[in-house]
């Protein structure tokens, strides 16, 4: 198996419209190893969602190459799952929790038992084993996002991509969900690409933080997070190293916003 799981090379995205073209992504290149948890942060409006949609094969880049497992991504790859920010619009309200988690598995060649096993296992992993027969709209926002995560987990992807998944839930729920993501990464060795605008969250979750510049976007910094793999909401966040890292990322974002960072000419 190749060490590199995801490779983004010289990605560029220009939106063409009748009123003129907008360059959303200038030139992004980075690599992600198998089993890594990479966070992407950037100033608001820096094209994070555009980047994700390109990686997920939902949007065709203007130029550049995206490779997953050595295969170029041109349409949504079968070994990738996506968790959206808008859980309320990503889950189907006419299906139960189980139905939602099971839906992407229907065209995989699995027996009924195997499918049920995957659904049970995923619901258990996110702590929703009791709620399978409820409808998503009967659950709180945080629980709905857990359903979306369970759906992604049951799909057994090589890489899980999350687009600001906790931006719309309250702070306490958010902390719980962050720990759930860490736990899925640790226990299941899942590769995760996590996009957020929250600097603390990126440092707390990531093994690496990629800081994006403002639009047209390029990678301003690729920062390894040298915190211990066992993380805790209270002790980790109280570490001096955590504060150093988050201050560093914060400064980078401020520079990005002001457009001070100079784009390297390659």
């Amino acid at each position: 198996m190749p060490e590199t799981l995801l490779k983004v090379e010289k990605l560029k995205k220009v939106y063409e419209s009748s009123t003129g073209s907008v360059e959303a992504i200038g030139d992004i290149s980075f690599e992600m190893r198998r089993g890594e948890l990479v966070c992407i942060v950037g100033p608001s409006g820096c094209g994070k969602t555009t980047l994700l949609k390109c990686i997920a094969g939902l949007l065709a880049p203007t130029s550049g190459v995206i490779e997953l497992d050595g295969q170029p991504v041109t349409s949504p790859p079968p070994n990738m799952a996506l968790v959206f920010q808008e859980y309320g619009r990503s889950l189907y309200p006419w299906l139960t929790v189980r139905g939602n988690v099971e839906l992407p598995l229907k065209h995989k060649k699995l027996s009924k038992q195997e499918r049920a096993q995957l659904v049970d296992d995923a619901l258990l992993a996110v702590g929703l084993d009791h709620a399978g027969n409820s409808y998503p709209w009967q659950l709180s926002g945080g629980m709905q996002q857990r359903v979306a995560i369970a759906r992604a987990v049951a799909y057994q992807p090589e890489v899980l991509i999350m687009d600001e998944p906790f931006a719309a839930v309250d702070a306490q729920t958010r902390a719980d969900l962050e720990d759930l993501v860490r736990q899925l990464h640790r226990d299941r060795g899942m590769s995760l690409l996590f996009v957020t605008h929250d600097i603390d969250e990126s440092v707390y979750l990531g093994e690496r933080v990629i800081v994006l510049s403002k639009s047209p976007t390029w990678v301003q910094e690729d920062l390894p997070i040298d915190l211990a793999p066992e993380r805790d909401q209270i002790t980790t966040r109280a570490l001096p190293r955590f504060t150093e890292l988050r201050t560093h990322v914060y400064e980078q974002i401020q520079r990005a916003k002001r457009g001070e960072a100079v784009r390297p000419t390659a």
């Binding site: 996506l82 309200p93 006419w94 839906l103 065209h107 709209w137």
Partner: protein, 238 residues
Amino acid sequence: MIWGIWGTISPQKFFPGPIAIIQAFIETWIGPAFTADVVPSVVRLVVGIVVSILVGIVAGTVIGLVRWLRELLEPTLEFFRAVPPPVLVPILMLVFGPGDATRVIVIVAGAVWPVLLNTIEGVRSTDSVMTETARSYALTRVERLRYLVLPSASPRIMAGVRQSLSVALILMVISEMFNNSSGLGYRITYFQTNYLIAEMWSGILLLGLMGILLAAIFGFVERRVLRWYHGIKEVERA
């Protein structure tokens, strides 16, 4: 009560009392007239409604999903929807000749529009995030239709069906008023032209009852199909 007392005190030729109408109702409709007039009418109505719903949903889904087809057809569809269907009855009678098929076509020609246009609108307004979810999980075309497009359009489709039912009932009566020898519309017109006033009113009563029955069946189906939809509305209100 007031109507009954008033009708007894001052009997009027064109507005008989309730007892007279109920008597006429029993005498007219329970017996051979049931199989001669009521059954054919109901069969035409049911076939017309079923065909309208099927054609409306199938054609509406196709038109709603294919953008160029929609842009091509939408003005024409709006035109046909705007034409009051009863004016089409004589034309259709001429084209297809008198007969049961024509009567069903008349019902469909009027009742298909609400289902069709609502289905187009419902299919078109599928949520973009839900569609992206389906794409990212590589759902097949059939799965997308079955688990995303049709359920998400179902509240609109049901609203269309509701309108179609009343249109269908009206058209059933009207289609039977033109050279026909059976059916409720024919029978009521016959009573009317022969001054059988209580019988005529009893026919109108029967039509009303059929309308109520249709609405009840619709309500029953709608509650099942749109259980999730009403559930969300309830949660939002709370």
